[in-house]
């Protein structure tokens, strides 16, 4: 018997007030999405209080950036949000480009949009799969991983790596896209669309799934803004805010797409927004493929060592998890003076204590899953 339970029992037997049991969830719990630790004070199946503990995956990425040359930092950004690598590389490259006032070849911008949106789909597919697992459904994860694997096969063909691509360069891409890129894409897109639809069909409107997610972990728009929510979590609350729309970067102002918003800001709305975003990403990719011009994609800088002028810059990018901000300070040397990352997962996770209060143990798993955190980014 757990000593804690014996105490509780003895206390109750002596006519005392019920005492909460302390339940340690993680860092090795299967549903904490990496090494996240939750300490729950529970009363039966109800959570009275929750305390998140982070930092198990802290690698000091921001500090490491200061010791690397500008090109080398890209690999570190790959490892922040390790399921949306292209989006991270992109944000960093844009920061340096902005600092240097560097123009990117048109074709490279389109390639970045295509790869970034594909990565968004891959990331959301992973989310849908793990959400299914958290809610107890095992089949969606298989469907989703199949789709994600297809995307990653394309990434491998393009960059040579499934996950840590290191493909974007400051001012362009590392090398020309593979010759059969369009062919690969036209093979991938219909299959990917089918995978997205399949994962949507089996889960989103499932009666039990709805019962588990609808009305759970709800948060109002003003409060969500206060917590610094961004991305699908914010849009689920009904706030139509998307970096790609509000402050279009790259070539996003040339595409037609909708920004799906939810109504109640609960777990199901977050899920629904992500599923809808996958369809929108597919739309963007199709348009980008149609518009993509010929031309160079590699950076005019080549492999030269770069020394951006003194100054500081902040860029924001719409990552699958929300708004990734990169704040970069240059002192004119070949290494950044300071790199500060504003990770979307961290800000979204900050509301976990508020969301978990007075929920069920089973809900804690679903709520955490619906925030869709990546610990690599939270801890950095």
């Amino acid at each position: 018997m757990c000593p804690n339970m014996v105490e509780t029992h003895a206390n109750l037997a002596a006519g005392g007030q019920p005492v909460e049991m302390l339940l340690n969830m993680g860092p090795q719990h299967p549903s904490t999405h990496g090494v996240f630790r939750l300490v729950l004070w529970i009363d039966g199946e109800k959570i009275v209080r929750a305390e998140p503990h982070i930092g198990y995956l802290h690698r000091g990425s921001e500090k490491l950036c200061e010791g690397e040359q500008y090109h080398q930092v890209i690999t570190l950004f790959d490892r922040l949000d390790y399921v949306a690598n292209f989006n991270n590389e992109w944000a960093y490259c844009r920061a340096v480009e902005k600092l240097m006032g560097l123009a990117v070849p048109e074709r490279a911008e389109y390639a970045r949009v295509i790869l970034g949106e594909l990565n968004r789909i891959a990331s959301h597919l992973l989310y849908v799969g793990t959400m299914g697992l958290d809610a107890g459904a095992m089949t969606p994860s298989m469907f989703c991983f199949r789709g994600r694997e297809r995307v990653q096969a394309l990434f491998e063909a393009v960059s040579g790596a499934r996950m840590m691509h290191n493909y974007f360069r400051i001012g362009g891409l590392k090398e020309e896209l593979p010759e059969n890129f369009r062919q690969l894409m036209s093979g991938l897109l219909p299959l990917l669309k089918k995978d997205v639809e399949e994962s949507d069909k089996i889960l989103t409107f499932n009666e039990i799934f709805l019962a588990r997610l609808k009305g759970v972990g709800a948060i109002g728009a003003p409060e969500a803004v206060d917590f610094g929510f961004t991305g699908p979590c914010l849009r689920a609350c009904g706030v139509e805010y998307d970096c790609r729309r509000a402050q279009p970067y790259s070539v996003y102002d040339r595409f037609e797409f909708e920004v799906p918003v939810g109504l109640d800001g609960d777990c199901w709305d977050r899920h629904w927004v992500r599923v809808q975003e996958m369809y929108q990403s597919l739309r963007i990719i199709e348009q980008a493929l149609a518009q993509m011009p010929e031309g160079p994609v590699t950076s005019p800088l080549g492999r030269r060592l770069i020394r951006p002028p003194k100054g500081e810059v902040y860029v924001r990018a719409e990552n699958p998890r929300g708004e990734l901000g990169v704040y970069l300070v240059s002192d004119g040397t070949d290494k950044p003076y300071r790199v500060k990352v504003r990770p979307p997962s961290f800000c979204n996770l900050s509301a976990i204590q508020r969301l978990l209060q007075n929920s069920w143990i089973a809900d804690s798993v679903v709520i955490l899953g619906s925030l869709d955190i990546v610990l690599g980014e939270v801890d950095r």
Partner: protein
């Protein structure tokens, strides 16, 4: 009792245990294969032809594993729990007939005996949860107790209704009464309730709450390893098979059917039910504990009483058989309508959301046309809850 009688019983039990073990091995293989097909995978392929030897490999691995007992565990409870679970699962089979003559020991009160022993397993789960000195285990054990006791009631009610129909608690008589038509046609609502409550009783998806992998990490089994865990696994599959067999016996006409030998018929029907159970597992997420309890007490228990009442009315007035079918179907349709209402609610909500979104897009376009940039600002929504 003669020594020879005791020996016969022992031999019979040994044969039964062997058969059940083989069935369990087969079921695990079948489950992996069926789930694989549902999920676009192959399932086991490496061990033997079509992975047929996979269950043997699993069993061997589990038996050879170190059996870890936590230091803080209550050793006696920890040891006895799996034994209780597996014995209560096993003894049910003593009185389940495979055909008119093929049964270890037929009892006149067979159904009563089965129901009585199916409750004992809860005790084992509770002991396992409490004895393993693990909070997840304890939570799982308590969940198991709450869940199984709640679902025992609708299960028993439906079984009583079927016994009323057949005027007997003897499974052989019940099957005999279904020789012209199975009770499925008389009492479809009963079948649905029995199947759902049966799923909950064996803790399979969507009712796998007490050993929920993503919440309580295996619940009562969290500290078990090696052979002990294998015993729980064995019990789970024996129970699954028992629920399927009882469904076949009570509602699908048991072994009655043309051409094929009776045992084959029963096996086919049971396997059909088992496949549905696997299918459900491959499709549904899991309920939450409060929803599970609410479903039992607010939906299944009243419905099972309704089943009893209509069966009693039918029996008392001696109405024609189709009248019971109609009454049962009416109950099913009522429930179906409520479920449909709930299932279409989110679709209605999505329409609402999309209408809102269109309005937003319009206002944005209007703002863009007016020359003022669209400012991203929080739109006031009706606060949650």
């Amino acid at each position: 009792m003669e020594i020879i009688d005791i020996l016969t019983i022992i031999v019979k039990l040994a044969v039964l245990f062997t058969i059940l073990s083989v069935v369990v091995l087969g079921l695990t293989w079948l489950e992996r294969k069926v789930l694989g097909r549902l999920q676009g995978r192959l399932g086991p392929t490496r061990t033997g032809p079509m992975g047929l030897l996979q269950p043997l490999a699993d069993a061997l691995k589990l038996v050879l594993k170190e059996d870890i007992i936590p230091t803080a565990a209550e050793k006696v409870l920890f040891w006895i729990a799996p034994v209780i679970v597996v014995i209560s699962a096993f003894v049910i089979w003593v009185t389940i007939p495979a055909s008119q003559s093929l049964v270890v020991q037929n009892l006149d009160l067979g159904l009563f005996y089965i129901i009585a022993f199916s409750v004992v397993g809860i005790l084992g789960l509770l002991m396992a949860g409490w004895g393993s000195a693990n909070k997840y285990g304890a939570l799982g054990g308590l969940r198991a107790a709450a869940q199984l006791i709640s679902y025992e009631i609708p299960l028993i009610m439906v079984v009583v209704a079927m016994a009323m129909l057949a005027q007997s608690l003897d499974l052989r008589v019940i099957v005999e009464k279904q020789s012209s038509y199975p009770y499925l046609l008389l009492q479809p609502l009963g079948l649905v309730i029995f199947f759902i409550a049966g799923l909950a009783e064996v803790g399979r998806t969507p009712f796998d709450i007490y050993h929920a992998e993503s919440e309580v990490v295996g619940g009562p089994f969290v500290e078990y390893s090696g052979a002990h865990w294998a015993v729980f696994f064995l019990a789970e599959y024996i129970n699954t098979f028992a629920v399927a067999a009882l469904t076949a016996l009570l509602f699908l006409g048991g072994w009655s059917g043309p051409f094929l030998p009776p045992v084959v018929w029963l096996l086919l029907k049971t396997l059909a039910v088992v496949l549905v159970i696997f299918w459900v597992r491959g499709t549904f997420p899991r309920l939450r504990i409060d929803q599970l309890m609410a479903f039992a007490w607010k939906a299944l228990v009243p419905l099972s009483f309704y089943v009893i009442v209509i069966t009693a009315v039918y029996q008392f007035y001696g109405w024609p058989a189709w009248s019971l079918t109609l009454m049962s179907l009416a109950g099913l349709a009522g429930v179906g309508y409520l479920v449909y209402q709930r299932m279409t609610a989110p679709a209605r909500q999505v329409k609402q959301v999309q209408a809102r979104q269109r309005a937003l897009a319009q206002s944005r376009r209007a703002a863009a046309a007016g020359g003022t940039p669209p400012a991203p600002q929080p739109v006031a929504t009706q606060g949650p809850g």
